[in-house]
C-alpha cells in the first residue's frame, strides 16, 4: 500500500462526507479538508494542494453541475492535483467533456461505487497518481450507443471486454488480472482492437483511454 494520500473531499451531504472521511482515514489516508460547496473546495485545494480531490457534481447553491465546473477549474489551475468527480447519476456527455479537456489525473465515478470500498479506494489512488478512471456504467452506455455499432460489431466479445476495461482506465496489468489472462494476450487484444477501430496505438495508458473515449463518444 502506498503511503497515505492527501485528500480533499467536497460533498454537501454530511453523511457521505463523514463516511468517506472515516473510511479513507481508516485506510491510512489523510483527509486534509472536507467541505460542502464548490467555493470552499477551490480554497481548500489552493491551500492544501492535495494529491486528489473528490468532488460531488451537485452542490449548493444551484445543485446542478457546480462540482463539474469546479473540477475543471481545479484541473486547469493545478494540473498536478487529481480530480475524481463523483456523481449521483450518469451523464455521459459531462464525463466525456471532462476527459476531453484534461487527460491525466481525472476520474468520473457514480456515487454508488463507494459500496465496493476496495475498488473505490483503488480508483482514488489511480487518479492521485495521474491515472484515469471512468465509471463502468458510462463505458457500457458508450459501447451500447448506436453510433459505433457497425465497427464495434467487428470486435470479438473478448475484445469488447478489453475495450470496456481500457475505457475505464485500466492498465494492461489490471486488465490481465481482471480477465485472468496473461499481459501478453492483453497486448495482442489491444493491438487488434486499435487496428480494427483505426486508432493509432499508444504506449501511455492515459492517451489510450482518451483515444478510446473520443472514439466512442464522437
Amino acid at each position: 500500500m502506498p503511503p497515505g494520500l492527501r485528500i480533499v473531499i467536497a460533498e454537501d451531504a454530511a453523511i457521505m462526507r463523514d463516511g468517506l472521511t472515516q473510511t479513507l482515514t481508516r485506510r491510512g489516508h489523510h483527509v486534509v479538508a472536507a467541505v460542502a460547496d464548490a467555493e470552499s473546495l477551490r480554497q481548500a485545494v489552493g491551500e492544501h494542494r492535495p494529491d486528489v480531490a473528490i468532488v460531488d457534481v451537485r452542490m449548493p447553491p444551484t445543485h446542478t453541475d457546480e462540482g463539474l465546473r469546479a473540477a475543471r477549474a481545479i484541473h486547469e489551475q493545478w494540473p498536478e492535483v487529481g480530480v475524481l468527480v463523483f456523481s449521483q447519476y450518469i451523464e455521459t456527455q459531462a464525463a466525456a467533456d471532462l476527459f476531453s479537456l484534461a487527460p491525466a489525473g481525472v476520474g468520473y465515478l457514480l456515487k454508488d461505487r463507494v459500496a465496493d470500498v476496495g475498488d473505490f479506494v483503488d480508483a482514488i489512488t489511480r487518479v492521485a497518481q495521474g491515472g484515469t478512471v471512468l465509471d463502468p456504467e458510462v463505458v457500457r452506455q458508450l459501447l451500447s450507443a448506436g453510433r459505433r455499432r457497425d465497427t464495434l460489431a467487428g470486435l470479438t466479445p473478448r475484445e469488447r471486454e478489453v475495450l470496456s476495461l481500457i475505457a475505464q482506465g485500466r492498465s494492461n496489468a489490471a486488465i490481465a488480472g481482471t480477465l485472468f489472462i496473461s499481459p501478453k494476450v492483453v497486448e495482442k487484444h489491444v493491438a487488434s482492437i486499435f487496428g480494427k477501430l483505426g486508432l493509432a496505438p499508444s504506449d501511455s495508458d492515459n492517451r489510450r483511454v482518451i483515444a478510446a473515449i473520443r472514439y466512442l463518444e464522437s
Binding site: D12, A13, I15, M16, G19, L20, T23, R26, R58, H63, T64, D65, Q88, Y89, I90, E91, T92, Q93, L110, K111, D112, V114, A115, D116, V117, G118, F120, Q141, S144, A145, G146, R147, R149, E217
Partner: protein, 403 residues
C-alpha cells in the same frame, strides 16, 4: 349641439336602466297626469271613482315586471269593463263615468309591450290578439255615437288604436330578441372567460407538477440515494473486515447479501429517479436530447435549433416524448438510422423523430403512440404520424412554449 343631446339621451337611458322601478313609477305618474281631466267631473264621487280606475291602470305599470301576465290580465279586464260599461252605443252620456276610456288606457299598450318582452311569443301573441279585438270592439261601440261623422274618421281611429297596439307588441318582441341575444353574448363571454381561467389553472397545475417531480428527483438523489450509498459503503467495509478475519462464514454470507441488495437498490433508485426527471434537463433540452441521441440503440442524429428555453414542464414533455419515440423505433421500426429534430415554430416547439424503417406504424388505443398523444394533449399539443407501409416513418410532436 348634437353630441351634447346624444350624451343627455345616453345619460337618461342609462338612468332608466339603472333604476327600473323609479322609471316605471315615473311612467305611471305620467299616465295618471294625462288623465287628470277626470277630476273636473262632477259630482266629486264620480271624479274620485274615475281617478281610482286610472290609478288602478297606472299601478299595473309599476308592478308590470314582477308578474307581466297577471298585470296584463288586470288591465285587459279593466279594458273589457270599460268597453262594456264606459261606452254607450245608444248615444248620450255613458252610464258609468268612472269607466270611460282615458289616456291611462295607454297602460294596456305598456303591459302588452311588457308581455312581449318577458313572456314567450305565443303568450304575447295571444295578448296582441286580445288587444286588437278590444280596439275593434271599441271602434264598433263608438260607431253609433259618432254616426254623424264620416266613416273615414272611424277607420282612422281604429287604425290608430291598432297601430299603437301593434307597435307596442313589435317593440316588446324585438326587445325580447335583443335581450336573448345579449344574454347569449354574455353566456358566451362567461364561457370564454371560464375557458381562459381553466387554461391558466391547467398551466399552473402542469408547471407545479413538473416542479414537484423535479423536487422528488432531487430528494431521491441527494437524500435517499446518498444515505443508501453510505449504508452500502458501511456494509462493504464490514464485508472486507470479515473477509480479512475469516471465521464467521454465516455472517459474511449475510453481510454479502445485504451489500449486494444495497447496490441493486441503488441502481434501481437511479433508474427510478431518472424516469421521474432526468437531471440533464436542468442544462436544457438540447443537451438532454443529445444524450438521448447518444445512447440510442439505433444510431441517431440530432439537429436542435432552440433560441429560447421553453418552460420546464414542456422541456420534460419533449424529452419524454423523444425517449418514447426512440424506444418505439428501436422496438418496432427495423430502422438503421434515426433523425431527431427540435425547432421553434409559430411560438411553439416542434419535435420530430424520423426513421428509415419499415413504416406502417399506427395509432392504436392503449399503444405507445396513443399514450404519447394523450400526454401531449394535456397541454394542447398535437401529434402527427406519417408512416406508410414500407416506410419511412415521421412522427411530429407540436408543443406550446408554455403549458
Amino acid at each position: 349641439m348634437e353630441p351634447y343631446a346624444g350624451i343627455v339621451l345616453q345619460d337618461a337611458y342609462g338612468w332608466v336602466r339603472r333604476h327600473p322601478r323609479a322609471a316605471d313609477g315615473l311612467l305611471a305618474a305620467l299616465l295618471l297626469a294625462a288623465s287628470a281631466g277626470q277630476l273636473r267631473l262632477s259630482p266629486l264621487s264620480a271624479a274620485l271613482a274615475a281617478t281610482s280606475v286610472s290609478a288602478l291602470l297606472a299601478a299595473t305599470v309599476i308592478v308590470r315586471r314582477r308578474d307581466p301576465l297577471a298585470a296584463f290580465a288586470a288591465v285587459a279586464l279593466l279594458g273589457a269593463a270599460q268597453l262594456a260599461f264606459g261606452i254607450h252605443p245608444g248615444g248620450g252620456g255613458p252610464p258609468v263615468h268612472a269607466l270611460e276610456p282615458t289616456m291611462a288606457d295607454l297602460a294596456i299598450a305598456v303591459l302588452l309591450y311588457t308581455l312581449a318582452v318577458y313572456r314567450p311569443r305565443r303568450i304575447s301573441l295571444a295578448g296582441l290578439a286580445i288587444c286588437l279585438l278590444g280596439a275593434a270592439v271599441a271602434v264598433a261601440r263608438w260607431a253609433p255615437v259618432h254616426a254623424a261623422h264620416a266613416g273615414g274618421l272611424l277607420l282612422l281611429a281604429g287604425a290608430g288604436l291598432g297601430a299603437v297596439v301593434l307597435a307596442a307588441w313589435v317593440l316588446g318582441d324585438s326587445m325580447a330578441y335583443r335581450r336573448a341575444y345579449y344574454g347569449e353574448l354574455e353566456d358566451r363571454l362567461a364561457v370564454a372567460e371560464r375557458a381562459r381561467e381553466l387554461q391558466e389553472q391547467r398551466a399552473r397545475a402542469v408547471d407545479e407538477s413538473a416542479a414537484r417531480l423535479r423536487r422528488i428527483e432531487r430528494d431521491l438523489h441527494d437524500g435517499v440515494q446518498v444515505r443508501l450509498a453510505a449504508l452500502a459503503m458501511n456494509l462493504g467495509e464490514i464485508k472486507e473486515n470479515l473477509e480479512q478475519a475469516p471465521g464467521d462464514d454465516r455472517t459474511l454470507a449475510l453481510v454479502g447479501a445485504a451489500h449486494r441488495n444495497a447496490k441493486d437498490t441503488l441502481a434501481e433508485l437511479r433508474d427510478l429517479a431518472r424516469g421521474i426527471h432526468p437531471p440533464v434537463l436542468d442544462r436544457g433540452l438540447g443537451p438532454a436530447l443529445a444524450i438521448l441521441a447518444g445512447t440510442s440503440a439505433i444510431p441517431a442524429r440530432l439537429s436542435a435549433a432552440i433560441t429560447e428555453r421553453p418552460s420546464p414542464a414542456i422541456e420534460a414533455m419533449a424529452y419524454f416524448c423523444t425517449a418514447e419515440l426512440l424506444a418505439n423505433a428501436a422496438k418496432h421500426s427495423g430502422a438503421s438510422q434515426l433523425t431527431i429534430g427540435v425547432r421553434e415554430q409559430d411560438g411553439g416547439l416542434v419535435v420530430t423523430v424520423a426513421d428509415d424503417g419499415d413504416g406502417g406504424a399506427r395509432l392504436v388505443p392503449g399503444g405507445g403512440l396513443a399514450g404519447l398523444l394523450e400526454r401531449v394533449r394535456t397541454v394542447d399539443g398535437r401529434l402527427g404520424l406519417d408512416s406508410p407501409p414500407g416506410g419511412p416513418t415521421l412522427v411530429t410532436v407540436e408543443l406550446p412554449r408554455h403549458a
